[in-house]
Amino acid sequence: MAGMVFIPGAMFDQGSPPAALDWLLRQDQPLPRSWFADETPQRPATLGPYRIDRYPVTVAQFREFTRATGFRTDAEDRGFGLVYDEQGWVERAGVHWREPGGPGTAGAAGDDHPVVHTSWRDASAYAQWAGKRLPTETEWEYAARGATFRLWPWGDDWDDKRANTAELHAVGGLTTLEDWQQWWHALCRRDGPLPQTTSVGSFSPQGDSPFGCADMAGNVYEWTSTLSYLYDEATVCDPTVRKAMGSYRVIRGGSWMNFRYQVRCSERMHGDPLGWSSFAHGFRCAQDA
């Protein structure tokens, strides 16, 4: 299948070992251990062979889908979408995948950028139309790092030139939330709240996973098919994250908005699947082999 990578079946330990959380707490990042606890303990996982898209689904690919089917996304139907402006997250009228920053921003992201403002339903509908499906989070993680644990698709040494994260964009680099806000506010004042996506594959091959999958760290958050659950019910994690279990869907990979810590291969986020999306959310597809 063009554009897809074949992944042989495998057994591996999904999730992060305790040492990874110990490492996080030693880093210059403010989040507590309980915030990351949902990625522990590691659990043995078995996968059959499958294929996964080398890249996230692009604007051009999504346009082809809507032209062929007349599909309208959740954001188009409700008339507004979620962007992060100088005040924080805000629902803005006229924001959707065609105009990701609002009316007048069509073309702000090129055809070869990942499509954004896609809800879980939108992503699932595209996958079905394409004869594919969303990857499970187990498939996603294995495609991102292979059998051996590693922090990022290319290894354990961070390099801000290998992925589209917030750390790539700011001149002089970003290390704190205050730096991030300063950078983002300056961008918003200049351009408005536009997604800072990059053309898929921009960081290949140096940012690729062991299987050659691109953009698995950063660029866009990626929906998976997996209903959120804890690897171990006894895990002590943030109570609001626990409350999302059983109703949200797992999101992987982090995005251009994040620092290095949120784009790790084992990092888990959980998204509201009932129509919610943002200007940093996209997806890629998978298929049984």
Binding site: P32, L82, E91, Y221, V241, M269, D272, S278
Partner: protein, 88 residues
Amino acid sequence: MVRIVVPSVWNPERRTDFEADEGPLPEVIRRFAEANPVMRRRLLDAGGEPLQYVNVCVDDELIPRHLRRATVVPAGATVTIIAPMAGG
């Protein structure tokens, strides 16, 4: 009183449990946000109305957007605030 549970990363103390007075759900959220200004922008819009994209559970029930105005939080209940993207 009602118990309010918020993400630990929403305040510098990493506190998740708070108390507030019972009442209509939008009022409970508004009063809680005003009493805890560090979390205000995560709960209220510029006009002081509860943000609609933030999910709200009363005890174990997720309250859809269109039912929030009519929902009353009784004494002893727990209101859990869940960001549309949790964790990370």
